[in-house]
C-alpha cells in the first residue's frame, strides 16, 4: 500500500499527488513513469513521474481526470492509499547520460501541452540544476487549464499560449515555436515535446521543416509496463517498439503518429459503455473533458 501524502488541485480536473514510495523515489530519473493500481479491482494506469524527493521517499504525479479510472483517482485524498505503485519504468531521458559540457552548448526548447507540462517539469528542472538555460513553451486550451506555471518559471524561460487567447499568446504551441524561430531569431539544437499525441504529431511536422531534432514522450495504452504484453507497441523508423521498455521517449521524426493515435483509441468505446452502466447505477452524468 502506498500512502498519498499530499494532494493539490492544479486546475479543474487536473491534480497533483505526492505518494510515499521510497524504492521508486530512490531510483527515479527524468523521463520515466510509474504504474498505479488504485485498488483490488482497478486497472493499471501509467503516469509520468513529475517530481521525486529521495530524502522524503516521495514521487509526485500530475493527473488529468479524463475517463472512468482517472475520475476515480480524482476522489483520492491525502491520507488515502493506492494498492500498487510500481516503477520507475521506461528508459530515463537520453540527456542525463550525455556529456555535460557538450550539453551546455546546446540550445534546447521544451514544448509542453496540457498535462504534458508535468513530465516536462523534472526534465527542465534537471537542466536548470546543471546550469543549462532552456526555453519552455507551454500550451493549454484555456487559461484555467494552464498548470505549474510558477514552478516552470523557476527552471526556464516561459512562453505561454492558450488556444482561446485567454492568457499569453493566442494560438497553439506550434505557432509560438514558429514565431520564436522565424521572427525572434531563436535557434534550437533540440526540441523536447510532450503532450497529447496530436500535439506531438504537429510539433514534429513543424520541427522537421525547421530541422530541429525532436524527442517526444509517447503515451500509448499499456498493461504491465515491463515488456510482457506488447499493448504499447508503436512504430518508430519502420520498426515495432514497445514504448514501456524501449521508450517512452523516441525520436519524434521517426514515430508513426497516425498509427499511434489510432491505437490509443482502442478502448474508447468500451469505456463509454462502462460509463453508461455506471451512470445508470448512480443516476448522474458527467461530461467527458477533452484532452
Amino acid at each position: 500500500m502506498y500512502k498519498i501524502v499530499e494532494r493539490r488541485d492544479l486546475a479543474p480536473n487536473i491534480f497533483l499527488m505526492k505518494v510515499l514510495a521510497p524504492r521508486v523515489a530512490k531510483s527515479a530519473q527524468p523521463g520515466q513513469f510509474i504504474i498505479i493500481r488504485m485498488d483490488e479491482k482497478g486497472e493499471r494506469i501509467p503516469l509520468t513521474i513529475c517530481d521525486y524527493n529521495r530524502e522524503e521517499g516521495t514521487v509526485s504525479i500530475v493527473v488529468q481526470a479524463l475517463g472512468a479510472s482517472t475520475q476515480k483517482m480524482a476522489n483520492y485524498q491525502a491520507g488515502d492509499y493506492f494498492e500498487d505503485f510500481v516503477g520507475p519504468l521506461g528508459v530515463p531521458s537520453d540527456f542525463i547520460k550525455e556529456d555535460l559540457t557538450e550539453l551546455k552548448k546546446k540550445k534546447i526548447v521544451f514544448i509542453a501541452g496540457g498535462v504534458g507540462v508535468a513530465p516536462v517539469y523534472p526534465q527542465a528542472k534537471w537542466m536548470h540544476d546543471q546550469g543549462i538555460d532552456v526555453d519552455i513553451i507551454i500550451g493549454a486550451r484555456t487559461k484555467e487549464l494552464l498548470i505549474l506555471e510558477e514552478q516552470m518559471s523557476q527552471v526556464g524561460n516561459l512562453y505561454l499560449a492558450t488556444d482561446d487567447g485567454t492568457y499569453g499568446y493566442h494560438g497553439r504551441v506550434t505557432d509560438v515555436l514558429r514565431d520564436l524561430v522565424e521572427n525572434q531569431g531563436k535557434k534550437y539544437d533540440r526540441a523536447i515535446a510532450i503532450g497529447p499525441m496530436i500535439m506531438m504529431k504537429f510539433v514534429c511536422i513543424l520541427t522537421k521543416e525547421l530541422k530541429i531534432p525532436t524527442i517526444v514522450s509517447l503515451n500509448p495504452i499499456m498493461v504491465d509496463g515491463t515488456g510482457m504484453c506488447g499493448a504499447c507497441r508503436v512504430t518508430v523508423g519502420g520498426k515495432t517498439k514497445f514504448a514501456c521498455v524501449d521508450g517512452p521517449e523516441f525520436d519524434g521524426h521517426l514515430v508513426d503518429f497516425d498509427e499511434a493515435i489510432q491505437r490509443q483509441a482502442q478502448y474508447k468505446k468500451e469505456e463509454h459503455q462502462h460509463e453508461h452502466q455506471h451512470h445508470h447505477h448512480q443516476g448522474k452524468c458527467h461530461i467527458r473533458g477533452e484532452y
Binding site: S27, R44, A68, V86, G230, V234, V245
Partner: protein, 462 residues
C-alpha cells in the same frame, strides 16, 4: 473395471463450461482415486519415475492413495515437489511420466497427474501441513520473480533456514501461473495456497518491485546485504510475426489478452480493466498458450479459430488441452499460415489473409517442415487476431546487470547448479531455457537452491 482401463474423471459438460471460467476437470473423488491407484502394478523398476523431471517416487505416493493414506501420499510428494497441485494439473504427462508407465503398453497408463493432483488437493482442502523448516540462520537471499522457479527456490532455501525475500514485478505472485494459465485450467486458489505456504515458511514477498529498474542486482548484493540472488524472471517477452497489419487495432499478443483476462480479471464485471474480444477471433500458434487464449476468447463469447502451420499431429500443446478445446467448439485451421492482417480505414482488423501449407522434409527438430502451397491464399474473416508465437526472456535484467552473460536468444547462461557468469548470482527456469514447462522451472529452482546453499557454505569456510 479391468486393470487396463483408466477410472474416468468427471469434467464440466463442454457446452456449459464453454460459457464459464470454472475449472474444467472436477478431479477424482476419494473412491475413484483409490480405485485408479489400485491399478498401479507397483513396479520394482518403475518406468514412470525415470521420465518425471523431478523423479517423484510415483509408486510410493500412489500406494498411499490406494491404501487411503492421503496425508502420507501428500508427504511423499512434498519430498520432491513444491507444487504438486499445479504439476498434477498442467504437466504434459502424456510425454513424461505417463508415457513410460508400463500399463500404457497394453492399455491406459495410470492417471499419475490426476492422482498427484488428488493428493495435493486433498491435503489443501483438509488443512494438512507438509514440510518442515530448520532454525533460521539470518543469511539473506533474494529471489527475482515469483513464478514456479522462484517459488521453488525460495521454499527450499527457507526450509534450510535462510532469510528469503522474493521480488516480483507484477502486483501478484505466481508468474505465468496467475497471468497466463487461465482459471478454468488452474484455479487461482491453488496458486494462492502455494504462495501462502511459502509465507508460512517465513519467505517475504515484495510485489511491485522490478529488478533492474526499481533496484538493481548489484544494489541487492552490495547495499541490501543479500548473500546471493536467484533469477527466476521467466520468458515473458512476446514475439510477433512481422507481417503487415500486425499493429492494427484488434491484434494482441496472447500475453496481453491473457493478462487482461487472468491477472486483471477483465472477465468479471466488477473489475475495471477492459478486454476486447470481437465476434470472430483467430489465434495464431499451436502451443498451450494458443489453446488457453482460444478457450478464453470462446468463453468471452467469440467464435474462435486456431491457425497453425503444421498438422494436428505436431501441435505442441498438451493433448488434453487440444481435446478440450475441440470439445468446446474451438475450430482448427491446420496447415495454414497468416501472411497479412487486413484493416479498415479506422485501423481495425477486418480479416486475415492466410496461405495453406504442406509438410515437406523433416527439419532439425525432426518435425516435417511446413512450406506454402502456391496460389492457395484465402481470407479468414475475423475481427480479432491473437498472436501466440512463443516468448523469449525479457532483456531488462541482462541489460541492467554488469557481467551477466546471456546467449543470442537473450537467455541467461547458467550451469547445472544455476550458477551464472556473475558471482553470487544464480538463475533457472524459463529465463535460462526459454519458454518451457512448470516442472522444469521447478526443477531448476530446486537445483539452484542447492547451488546457493553450497555457494554460501563455501564462502563461509573461506
Amino acid at each position: 473395471m479391468d486393470r487396463f482401463t483408466r477410472v474416468p474423471i468427471s469434467e464440466q459438460d463442454p457446452k456449459i463450461r464453454a460459457t464459464n471460467f470454472k475449472e474444467v476437470c472436477l478431479g477424482y473423488t476419494e473412491e475413484e482415486a483409490m480405485a485408479e491407484a489400485k491399478r498401479c502394478l507397483q513396479c520394482k523398476k518403475p518406468q514412470c519415475r525415470g521420465n518425471c523431471p523431478v523423479s517423484i517416487n510415483i509408486p510410493g505416493f500412489i500406494k498411499e492413495i490406494a491404501e487411503g493414506n492421503f496425508v502420507k501420499a501428500a508427504q511423499v510428494l512434498a519430498e520432491y515437489t513444491a507444487l504438486p497441485a499445479v504439476c498434477g494439473r498442467v504437466c504434459p504427462q502424456e510425454l513424461q511420466c505417463e508415457k513410460t508407465c508400463i500399463l500404457g503398453k497394453k492399455g491406459d497408463p495410470i492417471a499419475i497427474g490426476k492422482l498427484e493432483r488428488f493428493a495435493a488437493d486433498w491435503a489443501r482442502e483438509h488443512g494438512v501441513e507438509v514440510g518442515t523448516t530448520k532454525e533460521r540462520n539470518g543469511i539473506k537471499v533474494a529471489v527475482v520473480g515469483a513464478g514456479p522457479a522462484g517459488i521453488t527456490c525460495a521454499g527450499d532455501l527457507a526450509k534450510e533456514g535462510y532469510d528469503v525475500t522474493v521480488f516480483e514485478a507484477l502486483h501478484e505472485p505466481g508468474g505465468v501461473l496467475v497471468y497466463g494459465i487461465p482459471e478454468f485450467r488452474l484455479p487461482d486458489a491453488v496458486v494462492q495456497h502455494e504462495v501462502e505456504n511459502l509465507k508460512k515458511l517465513g519467505v517475504k514477498i515484495e510485489t511491485d518491485v522490478i529488478i533492474g529498474r526499481t533496484i538493481t542486482i548489484d544494489e541487492l548484493l552490495e547495499e541490501e546485504g543479500f548473500e546471493a540472488v536467484f533469477l527466476g524472471s521467466g520468458a515473458g517477452l512476446p514475439k510477433f510475426m512481422g507481417i503487415p497489419g500486425e499493429n492494427l487495432n484488434g491484434v494482441f499478443s496472447a500475453n496481453e489478452f491473457l493478462t487482461r483476462n487472468n491477472l486483471m480479471k477483465a472477465f468479471k464485471e466488477e473489475y475495471d480493466t477492459p478486454i476486447k474480444v470481437g465476434e470472430k477471433v483467430a489465434v495464431v500458434g499451436g502451443g498451450n498458450v494458443a489453446m488457453d487464449a482460444a478457450r478464453t476468447a470462446l468463453r468471452l463469447g467469440a467464435e474462435v479459430y486456431i491457425v497453425y502451420r503444421r498438422s494436428e499431429e505436431e501441435l505442441p500443446a498438451r493433448k488434453e488441452e487440444v481435446h478440450h478445446a475441440k470439445e468446446e467448439g474451438v475450430r482448427l485451421e491446420l496447415l495454414t499460415n497468416p501472411v497479412e492482417i487486413i484493416g479498415d480505414e479506422k485501423g481495425w482488423v477486418t480479416g486475415m489473409k492466410c496461405i495453406r501449407m504442406e509438410l515437406g522434409e523433416p527439419d532439425e527438430s525432426g518435425r516435417r517442415r511446413p512450406k506454402p502451397v502456391p496460389d492457395s491464399e484465402f481470407l479468414l474473416q475475423v475481427d480479432t487476431v491473437i498472436m501466440s508465437l512463443g516468448t523469449s526472456p525479457n532483456p531488462l535484467l541482462s541489460s541492467t546487470t554488469e557481467g551477466l552473460e546471456v546467449d543470442k536468444w537473450k537467455c541467461i547462461v547458467a550451469d547445472e547448479k544455476g550458477q551464472t557468469s556473475k558471482e553470487g548470482v544464480f538463475a533457472g527456469g524459463d529465463a535460462v531455457t526459454g519458454a518451457a514447462t512448470v516442472i522444469l522451472a521447478m526443477e531448476a529452482g530446486k537445483k539452484a537452491a542447492k547451488g546457493i546453499y553450497e555457494y554460501i557454505q563455501s564462502k563461509k569456510q573461506k
